[in-house]
Each structure stands twice: as structure tokens, then as C-alpha cells.
């Protein structure tokens, strides 16, 4: 009986969908939440600014 319970709980743990695993992982969310705006807003923006030719 106990073995069956364990099997069931293991199956339940395995059945957690990928999206839920992502939403349950605060550090992965932190990584994404810092990485996205850093790449698309800050780094891309800085690259465009530093590529402006200097006045001669």
C-alpha cells in the first residue's frame, strides 16, 4: 500500500508541466526578468549609442 502511495506521489511530481515548473522557480524567473530588459533595452540601446560616430 505504501509502495503504491509512493508510486502515485512520484507520478504526480513527474506530471508537473514545464510551464508550472518555470513559474515555481523564482530564480529562473529572476534570471529571465533581468536578462530580457538588459539585452533588449540596455545593451542594445548602449550599442546603438556607442556606435554613433564621434564629431571630428
Amino acid at each position: 500500500m505504501q509502495k503504491n502511495d509512493n508510486q502515485e506521489s512520484t507520478q504526480e511530481e513527474e506530471a508537473v508541466p514545464g510551464m508550472q515548473q518555470l513559474l515555481d522557480n523564482p530564480f529562473m524567473l529572476l534570471f529571465l526578468g533581468v536578462m530580457f530588459p538588459t539585452v533588449f533595452y540596455i545593451l542594445w540601446g548602449i550599442m546603438e549609442i556607442i556606435s554613433i560616430p564621434a564629431v571630428k
Binding site: L29, V34, W44
Partner: protein, 576 residues
């Protein structure tokens, strides 16, 4: 035997840990102090922009505007948000906070930092406004103060994450964290990005003010600074939306219509909300249209989608809960029979409506590169963010304060009639202010300007009488909002000092961050937070018919306003 560190509120059933409770109180009280300071100076600003009064001199105006912006947009909001983070992690997860001693260190840094900034302002040489654009210099202690404040807030964010880890390790809850905690996590993540961006630009600017660096490029400053300046307001959005869900659950027993949808909407915030900072750079040369359009349109619209999801699901879940209680007649009986005399509800609902209809729609208009040209850097912009921050966030924080004073501080609210009316006075005043600033801005009135007519210049400019009238009405709205804001501060502080004690262990000191009497903490470890039961909503997902109609009205308003602005643009900028 482990010490008993928790108490259970007999009214709400919530568990408060001794250390976390003190940290919540200290942060919330300091926040209200800055609301009072910033609000009073906001009144002076409003009365100066009122053409018939023009209250302050130019020098005092820019000083008042600088303090108003910084005290409200940074200090009031972030102090209160730290309290929200401790509440969402420790109280909602029934968990001890991680490293409370570091929490006090963070608090101390925030107090020292904000005080330094205030000292810099009042010395009179740092009236650089909220944005502090270079090359306009402020005193070094201004930048140092902001940096210390940011480090303190960053500590608070990591304590929040640490508390989540402890809660998981100690198994204080089953399944996933509650939605409100997830929303607070979203706010914390955005805060970490925001503060890191602030460090990237403010540390060199501080060194520049000390003379160690020769030059800070203005465009570089503006671009990176707005990752701080605008994202800090996105922390607010995530925090106040979380509180909307909390209030819906507290007052109505409402459960999210779909946890999956609401959490996915928060994920969209995490990924895309900060990118909207780019709309401040839309009129700047030097960055490409591709960068501008990607960040403000394609990416920002995903965050807007998330806000629309929350705008649908929060009232939707209230409607479902109300209908279950029997308020089933017609489309809106559930709304008519809502507790409009309860400031917790009225504050939250007014905040939600004005945030969505005024703040949300104007935000999208501002984020559109072409239409932005009509209103860029006009007084339209303050009109927008008074709808989002002053109403959306501040009124929401006021609403939850009415809940927290009895539950967290264990004091009864004073002046129940004033409590009932305060959200209407503040919300009504801010609505008038926002609408007429938006109108005046559409007619070209610039923001942050002491003398829009350039009366002492060789070339003067006369605005249309309509614009002047709108500024006058906006000033009246600002006055009304200040009355509502002052009333809130009086009620909050008055309740903490004079409110009837709901617990004999609640002393005057415990209202301001000291722990309550030891006897109050009689729980060693609260019971595990169980999974909420899964409910079958049935009815094909159309239980919230009234909310659906409200959403259609919102979308129609959105389309009409967008079209009007596009049409206006075509008339002032003829093509071909």
C-alpha cells in the same frame, strides 16, 4: 523548545512573525511620512501650475517639484513596497523571514539614503527634479543618498527571495506559492533589475559629481536612467495588481478565475514590462527606430496584454464571488451590492478603473512612436502617471492600509465617516487632475515649466484660453486630491496613535515598528498553508458577464481614443 515567534490575528486569521511584522510596520510608516512630505509639495506644485494663482517663485517651484517627484515616486512607493514584500513572503507563506537583521540594515540604509537626498534638496543646490538629467549637477550627497537607498531596497528584495527559499525548505505551504505572493515576486524581480540599472548609471554620476569622472554622456544617462526611472513604476504595477487580488480574496473570498492565466500575465510583466522605459527616449536622436519600436510597441504590448488580463480577472473573480452569494440580477447587481462604503474596496476599485481607463489607455498612446510626438514632454505625461501611480498605486496602497491598521497594527480606525469618503475625495481629485493635465498636454502645454508663456523672454508664447482653463481646473483637482491625501495621512497616523487598541499588547511603540508584548506571540509554528480546493466554475467560463461588458466598454474607449489621437496627429503633421 523553540521560541514562539508568531501571532495569529483573530480577525483575519493571518499569522505574523515578530521580526517580519516589525519590518512591515517600520517600512509602511516611513512610506506614509514621505507621502505626507511629497503630497504637500505636490499641492504647492499644483497651485503654481494654476495660472490664476502661480503660487511659488521659479526657484521654489523647481525645488518643490524635485522633492514631490522623488519623495512620491521613489521613497513613498518603495518603502511601502518593502512592507508588501515582507507581508507577501512571511505572512502569506506562514514563514519566518530570512535574515531579519539584514532587513533592518536595509531599512537603515533606505532611511539614511532618503534623508541624504532630502538634505541635498533643502540645501537648495540639487533641484534637478526626479530625473536628475546630466549635465545638470546635483550635490554628491544627492547621488550617494539614492545609491544607499537603492542598496537598502535591494537587500529587502533578496530577503524576500530568501524567505521564499526558507518557506519551500521548511514546507510551510503546499503546491505553488499563492498568487499574491507570485505577484510580489514579480515586483521584486522588476525591482532588482530597476535597482541594478540605477547603480549602473548613478554610481558613475556620483563619481562625476565628485570630480573623478570628466563627462557623462547625456543620451547614455537618459537611456540607462529610464531603466531605473520607469521600471521603478513597473514595480508599482506588479505590487498593486497583487494587492487587488489580495483585496478580492479578503473581502469577497474571491479566487482567481484562472490561476494559470493570472500567473502567465505576471510572467509577461517579468519579461516585457521594463522595456516600456523606452517611450521616454522616443524623441531622442541616437537610438534607432527599430530599438524604439521593438521596445515600446511589440514588447510593451505584451505587458499591456498582461494588464488587460488582470483588469479582466480581478473584477471578474469579484463578480463570480458575488454571484455565488446571490447577487445575480442583471449584469451589474454584483457591482451595485459591493461594499462601496468600505474604503478597502472603494479605494481598490476606483484605483483599478482609473488605472485602466485613464492610465492604461494613455500609456499605450504614449508608447506609440508616431502619436507620442503630439504629447512628448508635455503636461500630458504627468496626467498619465498621476492616473497610474497616484491613483493606481497610491490609492491601492491606501486601500490596503485600511485593512492593515486593524490586522497588522491592531488598532481600530479613527473617523469611520472620513475613512468612507477619503478614497472618493482622493480618487475624484486625481481624476480631475489627470484628465485636465491630459487635455492641456494635448494642446501642447509643456511639463515641468514654471512659465509656459515665456513672459520675460524676447519671444513670448500665448497658449489657447482652453489650455489655461484646463490648467486651472487641474489645479483644483490637485487641491482636492491633496485634501484626500492629507485626510489619509491623518487617519493613518491618528489611528496608530489614538485608535482603540484591538489587542492589549499593542502599545504606542508597536505602532511604529517595535514588537508587541511578548504574550501576543503564542504560536511556535503556524499550520501548513494548504492547497486551495479546485472548483468547477462551469457555465462555459461566462459567469462574469458584467465584467465582460466592462471589458468591451474599455476596448471601445481604447480604440476611439487611439483613433482620435491618430487623426489629431494627421491634422498637425500633414503628409504628402
Amino acid at each position: 523548545m523553540a521560541a514562539k515567534m508568531f501571532r495569529q490575528c483573530p480577525d483575519s486569521g493571518l499569522f505574523f512573525h515578530k521580526s517580519a511584522e516589525s519590518l512591515m510596520k517600520a517600512h509602511a510608516v516611513l512610506g506614509v511620512v514621505y507621502l505626507l512630505v511629497g503630497g504637500f509639495l505636490g499641492l504647492l506644485v499644483a497651485l503654481t501650475r494654476m495660472p490664476s494663482l502661480h503660487l511659488l517663485s521659479a526657484e521654489d517651484f523647481y525645488l518643490a517639484l524635485s522633492i514631490h517627484g522623488t519623495a512620491i515616486l521613489i521613497f513613498w512607493i518603495i518603502f511601502f513596497e518593502m512592507a508588501v514584500l515582507y507581508f507577501a513572503a512571511s505572512t502569506l507563506l506562514r514563514c519566518r523571514p530570512a535574515t531579519p537583521a539584514f532587513g533592518w540594515l536595509g531599512f537603515l540604509l533606505m532611511v539614511i539614503g532618503s534623508t541624504l537626498v532630502m538634505v541635498a534638496f533643502f540645501r537648495g543646490n540639487s533641484s534637478v527634479m526626479f530625473t536628475s538629467y546630466v549635465p545638470m549637477p546635483a550635490e554628491p550627497i544627492f547621488y550617494l543618498g539614492l545609491i544607499l537607498f537603492a542598496v537598502g531596497a535591494l537587500i529587502g528584495c533578496f530577503i524576500f527571495l530568501g524567505t521564499l527559499v526558507i518557506a519551500k525548505q521548511e514546507k510551510t505551504y503546499d503546491g505553488s506559492v499563492p498568487l499574491v505572493t507570485f505577484g510580489a515576486l514579480t515586483a521584486a524581480i522588476i525591482a532588482i533589475f530597476t535597482i541594478a540599472s540605477g547603480a549602473v548609471i548613478l554610481i558613475p554620476t556620483w563619481l562625476w559629481s565628485l570630480g573623478f569622472i570628466n563627462h557623462i554622456d547625456p543620451l547614455m544617462y537618459r537611456t540607462v536612467w529610464w531603466a531605473l526611472g520607469h521600471s521603478s513604476q513597473q514595480i508599482n504595477v506588479a505590487a498593486h495588481v497583487s494587492i487587488w487580488y489580495a483585496i478580492a480574496a479578503i473581502l469577497f473570498g474571491a479566487r482567481p478565475m484562472s490561476e494559470k492565466v493570472s500567473r502567465t500575465a505576471f510572467l509577461l510583466y517579468i519579461l516585457f514590462l521594463q522595456l516600456a522605459s523606452a517611450h521616454h527616449i522616443l524623441a531622442d536622436p541616437g537610438v534607432s527606430s527599430t530599438w524604439k519600436v521593438f521596445n515600446t510597441s511589440y514588447a510593451m504590448y505584451l505587458a499591456v496584454l498582461a494588464s488587460m488580463v488582470h483588469g479582466l480577472t480581478v473584477p471578474g473573480c469579484i463578480e463570480v464571488a458575488q454571484r455565488k452569494k446571490g447577487f445575480n440580477n442583471g449584469l451589474f447587481e454584483w457591482l451595485k451590492k459591493a461594499p462601496w462604503a468600505n474604503p478597502v474596496f472603494s479605494g481598490m476599485f476606483i484605483a483599478m478603473i482609473i488605472f485602466g481607463f485613464i492610465g492604461g489607455i494613455t500609456g499605450v498612446v504614449m508608447g506609440t512612436e508616431q502619436i507620442n510626438l503630439i504629447i512628448h514632454n508635455t503636461i500630458f505625461v504627468p496626467g498619465h502617471f498621476h492616473a497610474t501611480v497616484a491613483v493606481g498605486t497610491t490609492l491601492t496602497f491606501m486601500a490596503i492600509t485600511y485593512f492593515l491598521i486593524p490586522v497588522l497594527f491592531r488598532r481600530e480606525l479613527i473617523w469611520p465617516t472620513a475613512c468612507k469618503w477619503q478614497p472618493y475625495i482622493f480618487g475624484g481629485g486625481m481624476l480631475i487632475l489627470s484628465l485636465f493635465l491630459l487635455g492641456a498636454g494635448t494642446l501642447g502645454v509643456p511639463r515641468r515649466h514654471w512659465d509656459i508663456n515665456f513672459s520675460d523672454a524676447l519671444l513670448q508664447f500665448q497658449f489657447a484660453g482652453t489650455a489655461i482653463t484646463m490648467l486651472g481646473i487641474a489645479g483644483f483637482g490637485g487641491f482636492l486630491a491633496a485634501v484626500g491625501g492629507a485626510l489619509f495621512c491623518l487617519i493613518a497616523v491618528g489611528s496608530l496613535v489614538f485608535g482603540k487598541r484591538l489587542d492589549p499588547g499593542a502599545s504606542l511603540f508597536s505602532s511604529f515598528g517595535f514588537p508587541m508584548a511578548s504574550s501576543c506571540y503564542n504560536v511556535e509554528r503556524p499550520g501548513k498553508l494548504g492547497l486551495a480546493p479546485v472548483e468547477q466554475t462551469g457555465d462555459g467560463g461566462v459567469q462574469a458577464k458584467g465584467t465582460f461588458v466592462l471589458a468591451l466598454v474599455f476596448l471601445a474607449s481604447f480604440v476611439v481614443y487611439f483613433f482620435i489621437n491618430a487623426k489629431y496627429l494627421s491634422s498637425i503633421w500633414p503628409m504628402g
